[in-house]
């Protein structure tokens, strides 16, 4: 481990102060999403696994999902109990998303028998399943196995690429895999007629606001050719999550979550470039100081425009939104790079 990785790891607690109940899921809810060209309800459930394997090694600079993980062993039976518990609230939504704060396809996190149990159960109940996984768990074997389990249900595999730039992913995010790994995984997924949801991170630490826009635009250019009409590009603005490097810097006024203006700029760019791939942007903690935000006055308007865009894919909605803080955002873009770290946030200098 290099010293940055060691530091990222040190920021994490090794166990919880109060042990969560391993028989209960983290959370579950119903939300709107798109299924082909319809807007439908989707059921989301988050399993409390032992935690992401990469996180146990060192982990990503912005990711605080481990705060929801058990951080100790969770048995197969317990995971199945969690699933059953969550499914009591399932209301026949055509999409079911199962998140684990890690990789659903990682057998160390979700044992194969649990994966099989859930897939076999859901394939009877829903039209589409969405899970998330790091590319290393997307293998010929895993794809084949799943294909046999899912007889008629569509599967969407979310991969946190974050950026197409290996150096940024390595250095600023500490993601631990390459663009090449991602592309190979995408090919495997596509070969099995599954779809890919690519997560793109907006504003990793160490990058200025302007650089993060450039990074995302480059990434859009690089990722779109790898995707097809069933795939999704999901833009994830960094939020300040507990016990992360991002939080460490943010507490010391050396990191600011992205502006909503930047997100609108990126989405407008992506909308212009894409032909078939769906664009989506869920903003964790949007409009709050720990999440992507503008001046806190216009935030709710901007957030609903972004939400609207995710559903309609129509960027003209952004033409109607405005606020004086757009000038401050431009100041951020104009002045931050020539301040050499002195001006992480023009609103809070």
């Amino acid at each position: 481990m290099n010293p940055l990785q060691t530091f990222i790891k040190q920021l994490k607690p090794t166990r919880h102060r109060k042990t969560p109940n391993p028989n209960l899921p983290v959370s579950s809810w119903s939300e709107q999403d798109r299924y082909h060209n319809e807007i439908v309800d989707a059921f989301v459930l988050i399993l409390r696994t032992r935690g992401c394997s990469w996180m146990f090694q060192s982990g990503c600079s912005m990711c605080g999902y481990f705060n929801d993980s058990m951080l100790s062993k969770v048995t197969s039976d317990q995971l199945i109990n969690q699933y059953k518990q969550a499914m009591t609230r399932y209301n026949n939504e055509p999409i079911v998303k199962i998140f684990t704060s890690g990789s659903f396809l990682d057998a160390n996190e979700v044992p194969e028998k649990v994966q099989e149990y859930i897939f076999s159960d859901l394939t009877k109940k829903t039209k589409k399943i969405a899970v998330e996984s790091r590319p290393e768990y997307v293998t010929e074997t895993s794809m084949n196995t799943i294909k046999n389990q899912l007889t008629k249900t569509e599967l969407d595999i979310g991969i946190g690429l974050e950026t197409s730039q290996d150096f940024i992913r390595d250095f600023a995010i500490n993601k631990g895999f390459s663009f090449e790994d991602y592309r190979n995984a995408v090919t495997l997924v596509h070969n099995n007629n599954f779809s890919v949801k690519t997560y793109i991170l907006i504003k990793p630490p160490f990058l200025t606001e302007k650089e993060s826009i450039e990074d995302v635009k480059q990434t859009i250019d690089h990722v779109l050719p790898c995707t097809d009409q069933h795939d999704i590009l999901s833009f994830n603005p960094t939020s300040v999550q507990k016990n992360t490097l991002v939080e460490y810097l943010w507490r010391r006024k050396q990191y600011r979550p992205p502006w909503l203006w930047s997100i609108i700029d990126m989405l407008t760019y992506a909308a212009k470039k894409q032909k078939k791939t769906r664009l989506q942007c869920d903003i964790t903690g949007g409009g709050k100081k720990r999440g992507a935000h503008n001046c806190f006055t216009c935030d709710s308007e901007m957030l609903s425009a972004i939400k609207e865009f995710s559903l309609t894919q129509d960027p003209t909605i952004f033409k109607d939104v405005n606020c004086d803080c757009k000038n401050q955002w431009k100041d951020q873009l104009n002045l931050e790079s020539t301040s050499f770290g002195s001006l992480p946030d023009v609103m809070n200098p």
């Binding site: 290099n2 010293p3 940055l4 060691t6 530091f7 730039q165 150096f167 940024i168 250095f171 600023a172 630490p205 160490f206 990058l207 302007k210 650089e211 450039e214 990074d215 460490y248 810097l249 010391r252 006024k253 050396q254 990191y255 000038n327 401050q328 431009k330 100041d331 104009n334 002045l335 790079s337 020539t338 301040s339 050499f340 770290g341 002195s342 001006l343 023009v346 200098p349």
Partner: protein, 625 residues
């Protein structure tokens, strides 16, 4: 890219930075080369992350390590850099530094970590250093001071420091004083966005302005209240305020007034006061080295604040009194006198009266006059001509503050442990004496009322001194001759100036003549060795004087043999220079092995070696070959 220094004041400097064919005055501002910020006509230099041709001179910032560089990017002034957040632990910053791949030799961005910055400097003789995370450093006054002072000590004197984002009208002066040279106008832009109006010493919200006190072109051309100003108006007003302060600061440097200016400017901000106190207290050596030992005749050191007492020249004076000075051995009785408003003290009416009262005693030559004063502490009569004893001013109310008394007490304790007297007579107010009295020896008090110059007090002074002299009759006191006393005085000035070894060598077998204060030193062949012009208060050596002490190799500047010296010696010609040399010192110039003559240092000793431009020594006399 190079810098030409025109004037210095303490650690600050003003001059010209040459960028390609253009000259930029420093201290100065870099304006963003962006149309939307409407750079004003007085903008002297620009910075941009794009390569615009519209604004010049321009410093261009290229892509950092996260992005691929194209050919255009390679031509920028700064590129392939990595800004490492200041808050990260040392080990992480150390590790990340390897990813910084800056190539440009002229301009280098430095880590805000002092250790990492030091390593970088070792291999880079750059003309301009950009301090990363300047805001975060500046938030911690102690850290900021240590960083800038240690950086300045490592780099060339001609190298410039650029501290982005932290300059305001209020901070500009002290930042310059500390040793920063270039700033940006970010504060003006952000303030304008937030409806904030710059005033010389503060920033005020426009809606809180009752009357607009400003007459800058923006404010004088409109009747609008500042709260109704457009962004551009407010921005331009703020630009004007920054520029005005910049010009005030540049003037102050040339007139040796920057210290006085910043002592005013920092008053509204405890953080800035902390900054100055840390500078004075923790970085004394850094400031002292850059503080002249003599000043122009018209210069007055106004000690008007608590911080004035910490000025390097005051501490240096105290230090030299403690370490270089010794009372003449014939002086047996210590007489403590109050100071006078007029300087040198002996030119004042009150001191002339004291001296008359002393002259009426039986043995005036054994009485040692030492003046008690704030903020200097003790000034032996022999040193009254030297700076800053010769030219300071202070508010006098008759009341002494505790910290002044404590300082005087400490000075007195040290002084009495270095200099032994048979008796101590105090002609000071009793209230002061009670506090500062330290010696075991009985003190005598000559003040009959509270006025040191009253007839009664003066008579009492003569009487008490005579009583003591009577009691000490068996001690075989001898009053030295007038000319011997003059020689002793010159000896002590020389000791204060050059240290005791050089002083003794210089004065050996010499004669001092002249009417005080214009004392002249002659050798046994009646050749003049030096004199004391009253405006300097230090000995100005002749070539013979220099020759007499040059073999001791102190206060020596050795220059290259490759050129003929006329009026001045420029720093590139200096090969070695005694680091104890200060600006204003008399120095001995050797060309190669040979003593060449004497002159006045216009740089300090280390500066002579670490500046590429400018006069190092102003030659006064060359020895006849």
């Amino acid at each position: 890219m190079n810098f030409q220094c025109i004037a210095t004041d303490g650690p600050s400097q003003t001059g010209f930075l040459q960028i390609k064919n253009e000259k930029v005055k420093t201290p100065g501002f870099l304006f963003p080369a962006e149309e939307s910020y409407h750079p004003p006509s007085f903008a002297e230099c620009f910075i941009s992350s794009s390569t615009t041709k519209k604004y010049s001179p321009l410093i261009t910032v290229g892509k950092n390590i996260f992005f691929k560089q194209n050919q255009q990017d390679q031509k920028t002034d700064i590129n392939n850099h990595l800004v490492i957040p200041d808050a990260l632990p040392e080990s992480v910053k150390d590790y990340l530094q390897q990813f910084d791949r800056q190539q440009n030799k002229n301009i280098i961005m430095l880590s805000s970590d002092p250790t990492i910055a030091s390593q970088r400097i070792k291999t880079n003789e750059s003309a301009l250093f950009i301090i990363s995370n300047a805001t975060q450093l500046f938030d911690n006054p102690k850290k900021f001071i240590t960083y800038i002072a240690s950086l300045r000590e490592q780099i060339n004197y001609d190298a410039l420091l650029y501290t982005p984002s932290i300059a305001t009208p209020e901070t500009l002066g002290i930042l310059t004083y500390i040793g920063c040279d270039l700033f940006d106008v970010t504060s003006a832009i952000i303030a304008a966005r937030n409806q904030q109006f710059f005033l010389p010493q503060t920033i005020i919200e426009t809606k809180k302005i009752v009357e607009n006190p400003c007459h800058c072109p923006v404010c004088s051309q409109t009747k609008k209240h500042p709260s109704n100003f457009s962004f551009d108006q407010l921005l331009h007003h703020n630009y004007f305020m920054l520029h005005q302060e910049l010009q005030i600061v540049r003037n102050a440097i040339k007139n040796n007034q920057l210290r006085d200016l910043i002592e005013q400017r920092i008053r509204f901000s405890p953080q800035l006061v902390t900054l100055l106190r840390h500078l004075d207290e923790s970085e004394y050596d850094y400031v002292e080295k850059r503080t002249p030992v003599s000043m122009p005749e018209s210069y007055i050191l106004n000690a008007t604040s608590r911080e004035s007492g910490n000025r390097a020249e005051i501490k240096r004076f105290q230090h030299r009194v403690n370490s270089r000075y010794q009372k003449p051995k014939e002086k047996k009785i210590l007489l403590l006198l109050p100071c006078s408003a007029r300087k040198p003290y002996s030119f004042s009416k009150s001191h002339q009266r004291f001296q008359r009262a002393i002259s009426k005693t039986k043995l005036p030559g054994v009485i040692h006059e030492v003046i008690v004063t704030s903020p200097l502490g003790l000034v032996p009569r022999e040193l009254e001509l030297t700076y800053p004893a010769s030219s300071y001013d202070i508010s006098v109310t008759g009341k002494w503050y505790e910290d002044e008394k404590l300082m005087i007490q400490q000075q007195l304790t040290t002084f009495l442990s270095n200099n032994t007297y048979d008796a101590i007579v105090s002609h000071l107010p009793k209230t002061l004496v009670q506090q500062i009295k330290t010696s075991e020896k009985p003190w005598h008090f000559s003040l009959t009322d509270n006025k040191a110059t009253s007839k009664k007090s003066l008579q009492s002074l003569t009487a008490i001194l005579n009583q003591i002299l009577d009691r000490k009759q068996d001690q075989d006191y001898t009053s030295p001759s007038k000319s011997h006393q003059k020689k002793q005085q010159v000896h002590e000035i020389a000791a204060y100036q050059f240290g005791r070894t050089l002083a003794t060598t210089l004065l050996k077998n010499s004669i001092v003549k002249g009417k005080y204060p214009y004392l002249k030193i002659f050798n046994e062949n009646n050749q003049q060795l030096g004199m004391i012009p009253d405006q300097r208060g230090l000995i100005s050596l002749t070539a013979e004087g220099g020759n007499k002490i040059s073999h001791l190799s102190k206060y020596t500047v050795t220059i290259d043999t490759g050129f003929t010296v006329k009026g001045s010696i420029l720093s590139p010609g200096v090969i070695t220079a005694d680091p104890s040399i200060r600006r204003g010192d008399d120095v001995l110039v050797n060309q190669g092995e040979n003593f060449l003559g004497v002159g006045v240092a216009t740089m300090n000793g280390s500066e002579m070696k670490k500046r590429s431009y400018g006069e190092a020594v102003n030659m006064r006399h060359k020895i006849k070959q």
